[in-house]
Amino acid sequence: MRVLFFAQAKDAAETSELEMNISDDVGLEEIWEKIVAEKPKLAAFRKTTRLARNGEYADAKTKFSDDDEVALIPPVSGG
């Protein structure tokens, strides 16, 4: 699974992307745990940062698989 980091999350992760291996049908909480395990500094982002799966916001019901592209979306500030 490819994980993309943007904005402050990218600064904290000190990289813009990461490869991770996961098994199929994984939920949101597990994905977070795996990401924080790789990049401990991102623990602080968990409350404010949303995850996107293949370009759409994920929610508690979303299931992830190893082919997905996941992105960490800290609070946005476009416009």
Binding site: F6, A52, Y57, I73, V76, S77, G78, G79
Partner: protein
């Protein structure tokens, strides 16, 4: 709803919608980068985006809002990367049947965008860092570029300047503006046959010698009637004739006796201006692109065009530079000269309907920048920025740096023309800037050749073309590898070349009303030779 979304790292230039929706309302919004971010003064903002998702999100938001506020079309352009202060970060255009839905959808879209669309303001960039980045970027655009030939420089200017949006204003205020619409005659002119003399109107081919006076018509009277043979109508100059096919016999050529006249001298002229003789109804009177002078305004008034569609007034900021310059009312110290460029620019702009703001800048770059900061709103809203002096490459010549600091991309900085080799031309979205050489003659020539061409284009006027004419006297010139524009006096005899020795000359300006164009490496030109010239 038709949705068009674009995320770009280039300046946002296009506006409006790509199709015509016959919308009753078009609402547009531009989000501009401000000079303060979190209380810190900045000169640019860097944006980051997760582009594929940002596009999806924007589309999703627009589709869901369209259910609540039905609109025809939406176009969104979001710029990312480094965006200088004053430039557009986001542009939104909504077309709808009525304004209510368009405004509502636009406002709600912006709110949702700021919650859900994965685009981030990363950091404000302070001036020093930004300058270096800009310099690196601009060094790509024109450093190492050979000085441009005259025609190439004019072509660059023409392609970078687009006519500014039209405005509709009162005819009384329109002098000097450029007409932006075709004006047709609403009726014939003259609208009726009218007399050009005080005299007597009779049938055109009436061979009688004596006539019965049956009526009197003054200029404002309207008294139609069919004249018969041997009938005459007393008419004043300008009076509408009572029917068609009449002539007017001047009163000096008749003898009057009570209500009868006798023609004593036969005239060749009929003394009548015929209906539609000058203009037929619906005929085109004026094309778009005409600059409104006194004559044009009189024709517009005649055509009933009391509120013509015209070019806007140009907003121009002009800066002079150099510590050697003192005001005309001051006595120069050793090494100083009086400023003639400010009044030159003021005079040169008089034909272009401009609002002009002028300011002298100190030679210290930092001080110059802080003076410009004080005029920020004028500088940012100016269509044209002119800087006199400092265009060369000396240590204290900061025109180029200043323009880059103001966010201008330098298109060229040298031209293969004399006088006036250092000429800087820059663009910043739809705004343009010139750095003019400070020497008076160069300054004058560069204005007429290049700045005037840009102003004409912004106003939507037809470009001025070089004409051909004959030299009255020999033009003494040493061959030069640069194309030369030679000051001249044009009169009915032809072109008189004027004496000038250096680009700093000023005395010849009092007589110059034309510039002769001398090709590269051409030496002296004999009297009687046909040459190209520009009237000024």
């Amino acid at each position: 709803m038709n949705i068009e979304i674009q995320i770009t790292n280039q300046p946002i230039q296009s506006r409006g919608l790509s199709e015509d929706y016959s919308a009753g309302a078009i609402a547009e919004f531009s989000g501009i980068v401000r000079d303060l971010e979190n209380g810190e003064k900045i000169s640019a903002l860097e944006y980051e985006g997760y582009s594929p998702m940002a596009e999806n999100e924007m589309r999703r938001i627009l589709e869901s809002l369209a259910e609540k506020f039905p609109c025809f079309a939406a176009r969104v352009i979001h710029r990312i990367g480094i965006i200088p202060v004053g430039e557009t970060a986001i542009y939104v255009c909504i077309a709808a049947e009525h304004r209510g839905e368009a405004f509502a959808l636009l406002a709600e879209f912006m709110n949702r965008l700021k919650q859900d669309v994965p685009i981030w303001k990363r950091r404000g960039i302070v001036a020093a860092v930004y300058d270096r980045r800009q310099q690196r970027e601009s060094s790509k655009t024109d450093a190492g570029r050979a000085p441009l030939q005259l025609n190439d420089a004019l072509a660059e200017i023409s392609s970078r300047c687009q006519p500014l949006p039209s405005v509709r204003i009162r005819l009384e205020e329109s002098f000097g503006r450029v007409l932006r619409e075709t004006v047709c005659a609403p009726e014939d002119l003259p609208p009726f046959d009218c007399s050009t003399r005080d005299g007597y109107a009779t049938l055109q081919n009436d061979a009688a010698e004596t006539f019965q006076i049956v009526d009197t018509i003054h200029a404002a009277d309207w008294k139609p009637r069919q004249l018969k043979s041997r009938e005459a109508v007393r008419v004043a100059t300008g009076a509408p004739l009572p029917c068609e096919n009449l002539r007017v016999v001047m009163q000096e050529n008749v003898e009057r006796d009570g209500d009868k006249i006798k023609i004593v001298r036969v005239e060749n002229s009929e003394n009548v201006r015929r209906r539609g003789e000058e203009i037929k109804a619906e005929q085109i009177l004026l094309h778009a692109g005409n600059r409104i002078n006194i004559g044009v305004s009189a024709l517009l008034a005649t055509a009933g065009c009391a509120s013509p569609l015209v070019s806007p007034r140009l907003r121009v900021c002009h800066f002079t530079t150099g510590d050697e310059i003192v005001l005309p009312n001051q006595t120069p110290k050793p090494g100083q000269i009086r400023d003639s460029n400010s009044i030159l620019i003021r005079g040169l702009l008089q034909n272009f309907s401009c609002d002009l703001r002028q300011k002298h800048l100190p030679e210290n770059f930092e001080q110059a920048k802080s003076q410009i900061e004080n005029l920020k709103s004028q500088v940012e809203t100016a269509n044209v920025i002119l800087i006199s002096g400092g265009a060369s490459v000396g240590e204290k010549d900061f025109t180029r740096e200043l323009l880059e600091w103001l966010g201008f991309e330098i298109i060229f900085s040298q031209i293969n023309v004399r006088p006036g080799r250092p000429l800087i031309f820059g663009v910043n979205e739809n705004r343009i800037a010139f750095g003019l050489p400070g020497n008076p003659l160069s300054h004058f020539v560069c204005f007429h050749l290049f700045v005037a061409a840009a102003l004409v284009k912004l106003a939507g006027e037809a470009p001025k073309e070089f004409l051909r004419g004959r030299l009255v006297a020999k033009l003494e010139n040493a061959p030069n590898p640069r194309e030369t524009l030679w000051p001249a006096w044009l009169d009915s005899a032809g072109l008189h070349p004027l004496a000038w020795a250096s680009s700093g000359n000023i005395t010849c300006l009092t007589e110059t009303n034309a510039l002769i164009r001398i090709p590269v490496n051409r030496g002296s030109i004999d009297a009687g030779t046909e040459v190209e010239f520009l009237t000024i």
